[in-house]
């Protein structure tokens, strides 16, 4: 019984073919219009477009384009804050009072003028919502003596304020519009503020872009703000898309996206020459620690054991494993910031010294557990390869390391509680000032996680207090360098490396710069 081709099947085949044809036509870029669109591929950690709640990498790219801050940074230079909404500022000599003089010509996207009342509202709202960025203004009060002056008063000397203010989370919102849509800056805003859904649909800022559509899973679309007070940006439409790193490399090679932000150095190495690839050291610092708390581990709290680890690690090898663009972290403060240690001060491997220190500790062939997060990728790097290398390095010294990875949601618990025997983590800067790194001192946030209780090293703690109250940048830098040298040689926390940060872009994007605070400023490209 022969079967004749049933008409159904032919029809199906025909439709299928037609669809494929249409598909092929549909994909050839639809940028034929005169507007310039910029497509940025990012692996999303997007949660919100509300500046009062936003404190993620993806979010900061978006919020930076929608809202303005009092001060900003020029390009990638984070050692000096330059005027934005404020045309000038002065700081008191004791670093407790900062006065900002606002421009008179700034208008929001709805045409209303921006005044100090909006600044006060935005800052207080962010503080009282008690979300992720609220700590930035901890202990800081915002007041407005007149419509174009804003005063920030800190209850303790805070030299970081000019470096905190440029953060997109301190973007100024249109207070009238936000209040009309459920926003409040009063104490208790963590329960009473309901403006987030509104701000996730419509932006209420003065920035070069306004929000057209927002999704935490697919894409965010921004278009030019017609009432923008500054120079209009070159790209009239910006799309930030959620794409995994592997596909990003394909997208950027086919010019489906113009910028890819999450490539690892390996992925970047295989890109063609018709793309510009910026590989620089990222401000994230990967470090490990040996718990200094004797009740957690008698082994790791032993100072000689810590030295054995310190001199047993192959820093150069770890840097190489991290890929192109990575550098060794000479101290816990990344190379881009004020007060960073020069590379010449970095620790180096000394196997003989390490073995001697282990012998002096009295422990032979000790076995310790190294805990680290198994499922996060930072600058294209996972923790597993580094952990395996650390295990191999310490084996050379005579220390047996058991690897204990766990998903970040569960491993964070042990880490925060200071119970990890050996830990391998990273710190991303909250703001580009060395004072962010005081958390590594004894008795402070990260110090405690490494079992370093207050009083463990009075010398370095005193230096820390001094650095907090010193205002002059040169004096501060010297103090922080001293602190780091002390930490490197005697502390339980050992800085390892700064990974390479890769930004791949099509050659059509000019003036490509990256900034640790907001990764990229889409309005600055042309």
């Amino acid at each position: 019984m022969r079967i004749s081709h049933s008409p159904q099947r032919l029809l199906t085949g025909g439709i299928g073919f037609a669809l494929l044809l249409m598909a092929a036509c549909g994909t050839s870029g639809n940028q034929g219009s005169t507007s310039k669109t910029l497509v940025v591929d990012k692996s999303f950690d997007m949660k919100t477009a509300d500046p009062g709640r936003e404190f993620e990498i993806s979010g900061s790219i978006v919020v930076k384009g929608l809202y303005d801050t009092l001060l900003t940074f020029k390009g990638s230079d984070v050692t000096k804050a330059v005027p934005s909404l404020a045309s000038s500022y002065d700081g008191s000599s004791d670093a407790t009072t900062y006065t900002f003089h606002l421009r008179h010509d700034v208008k929001f996207s709805d045409g209303t003028p921006l005044t100090s009342a909006d600044v006060v509202f935005s800052f207080n709202r962010m503080k009282n919502i008690k979300g992720n960025p609220s700590f930035l203004l901890a202990g800081v009060t915002t007041t407005a003596p007149d419509p174009y002056t804003v005063v920030l008063t800190a209850d303790a000397p805070n030299t970081a304020i000019p470096f905190i203010v440029p953060n997109p989370a301190l973007g100024v919102v249109n207070s009238k519009v936000v209040k009309a849509n459920g926003g409040t800056d009063a104490v208790g805003a963590d329960k009473s503020d309901t403006a987030e859904p509104f701000l996730d649909k419509t932006s209420a800022g003065s920035g070069p872009y306004i929000l057209q559509s927002f999704s935490t899973t697919s894409q965010v679309v921004m278009v030019t703000n017609p009432k923008y007070w500054g120079t209009p940006p070159a790209y009239s439409k910006v799309v930030v898309r959620n794409v995994v790193a592997a596909t990003q490399s394909l997208d950027v090679q086919k010019n489906v996206a113009q910028i890819a932000l999450d490539l690892s150095p390996d992925q970047a190495s295989s890109l063609g020459s018709n793309l510009q690839v910026q590989q620089s050291a990222s401000p994230n610092v990967f470090f490990m620690f040996a718990n200094a708390n004797p009740s957690v581990s008698r082994v790791t709290s032993n100072k000689n054991f810590q030295d054995a680890v310190r001199y047993g690690l192959d820093y150069a090898g770890l840097v190489q494993l991290a890929g192109k663009g990575a550098i060794q972290a000479a101290g816990i403060i990344p190379s881009l910031f004020l007060g960073a240690l020069p590379q010449s001060d970095a620790l180096t491997r000394d196997l003989t010294k390490a073995k001697a220190a282990l012998a002096a500790s009295g422990f032979t062939n000790p076995t310790v557990t190294l805990e680290y997060p198994s499922d996060i990728t930072v600058n294209g790097l996972q923790f597993q390869p580094g952990a395996e290398r650390i295990q191999a390095n310490l084996k050379d010294v005579g220390i047996n390391v058991t690897l204990a990875p766990a998903p970040v949601a569960s491993s964070l618990a042990n880490y925060r509680a200071g119970k990890e025997v050996l830990g391998y983590w990273l710190w991303g800067p909250d703001f580009p000032d060395p004072s962010d790194y005081l958390v590594f001192l004894p008795g402070r946030l990260v110090g405690l996680r490494a079992g370093w209780a207050a009083g463990s090293d009075p010398a370095v703690e005193a230096l820390g207090k001094q650095a907090e109250t010193t205002v002059a940048d040169s004096a501060r830098a010297a103090l922080y360098q001293q602190i780091q040298k002390e930490l490197d040689l005697h502390g339980p926390i050992i800085p390892l490396f700064q990974p390479g940060q890769v930004i791949a872009a099509s050659n059509s994007v000019h003036n490509l710069t990256s900034n640790p605070t907001w990764t990229i400023d889409v309005a600055s490209f042309n």
């Binding site: 019984m1 022969r2 079967i3 004749s4 049933s6 159904q8 199906t12 494929l20 249409m22 598909a23 092929a24 036509c25 549909g26 994909t27 870029g29 639809n30 669109t37 497509v39 949660k47 709640r53 404190f55 008690k130 979300g131 992720n132 960025p133 609220s134 700590f135 901890a138 329960k191 987030e196 859904p197 057209q212 999704s215 935490t216 899973t217 697919s218 894409q219 439409k237 799309v239 898309r241 959620n242 794409v243 995994v244 596909t247 394909l250 997208d251 090679q253 086919k254 489906v256 996206a257 998903p407 970040v408 949601a409 569960s410 964070l412 618990a413 925060r416 710190w427 909250d430 946030l445």
Partner: protein, 325 residues
């Protein structure tokens, strides 16, 4: 009813068994150290109450159609579901349509050419089809079709920056058709073709094999021989008699397959950046977003039960030997 309660309970227990703190997964490195921020987070999501109370609150809210608020997207889980379900539905529907058309067609061909080359080839290829690791196929397809050939886009539902037309069905293709927007329609079709084909491979193979078996069964029946003896053209014999008889069990299989497609798209959605339920479920599970995970599990379980129940009913109707329950 009991099943419904059982499901909510199992979902609740499983998601809360996870050894991890949702606050840790959702707050930043500084906020987590700030007791006020952590307290605010826990109060907002009701995590500061004892577990049994949390369960009761959850179930009561559920009765009112409130699935809670997602810790990742900060909006009601119901809204999240409303956004992601149509995406998966569109993908699964496209896949099932492709599967039905190809599967039935190939199955009939194989049956009518029993044990000949065509049949043998199809047998091997369909076996290969059900043996294929979907995630690997998706990656290979993406690389070859998008990167090397440039025939299909790399992911997402539309081109970058393109917005869908007015929401009628949530299917970007249908909505564009209704709005008469040709550009969006072609873009939506271009984006759905590849993931739908990858998803469909398994089901096509399955349906081909099942159709073949079903048609062979029918072919042995007397009334077919009678129809042929009457001199009816082969096309009519196939169309009117064979297919109609053979397709009924096949359709029920397709129904079950649809249920699976709807709920088993995690891998394909992740690779093709398709913002659907599968991707949502995976993200919620790994980020310890408890309300979202529970919401998705419940929704998916309900869909699955409904589809299976409908199929059971249909089967009971077709084949009197099998009774439901």
């Amino acid at each position: 009813m009991l099943l419904g309660v059982g499901i909510t309970f199992v979902a609740f227990v499983l998601t809360h068994l996870v050894p991890g703190d949702p606050a840790a997964a959702n707050l930043g490195q500084r906020a987590i150290a700030d007791p006020a921020a952590v307290a605010a987070f826990r109060a907002h999501y009701g995590l500061d109450k004892p577990l049994p109370q949390q369960y009761l609150i959850y179930v009561t809210n559920l009765a009112h159609g409130d699935f809670g608020e997602s810790q990742q997207s900060h909006r009601p889980v119901r809204d999240d579901l409303a956004e992601y379900v149509p995406a998966t539905l569109e993908l699964a529907s496209t896949a099932i349509v492709i599967s039905l058309v190809l599967g039935i067609g190939l199955g009939v061909t194989a049956a009518m050419n029993r044990d000949r080359i065509v049949d043998q080839v199809l047998r091997v290829t369909t076996l290969a089809g059900v043996s294929m690791p979907t995630f690997w196929l998706a990656l290979v397809a993406l690389y070859i079709v998008f990167f090397k050939l440039g025939w299909a886009p790399s992911g997402g539902r539309l081109d970058p920056g393109q917005l869908p037309d007015a929401h009628v069905t949530g299917f970007y293709t249908i909505d564009a058709l209704l709005a008469g927007d040709w550009a969006t329609l072609t873009s939506a079709i271009a984006h759905i073709i590849l993931p739908a084909c990858v998803l469909a491979l398994y089901t096509v193979s399955l349906l081909t094999r099942f159709t073949r078996a079903s048609v062979l069964e029918v072919l042995g029946n007397d009334y077919i021989r009678a129809a042929r003896a009457k001199g009816l053209p082969e096309r009519i014999v196939i169309g009117r008699h064979i297919l109609r008889a053979a397709l009924v069990p096949v359709i029920t299989v397709a129904g079950v397959a649809f249920g699976s497609l709807l709920t088993g798209t995690v891998l394909v959605e992740t690779i093709f950046a398709w913002p659907g339920i599968g991707q949502y479920a995976y993200r919620s599970a790994t980020n310890l977003d408890l309300p979202a995970t529970m919401g998705v599990s419940l929704f998916v379980a309900v869909v699955y039960i409904t589809v299976n129940f409908v199929v059971d009913l249909l089967y009971g109707i077709i084949d009197p030997r099998i009774r439901v329950g």
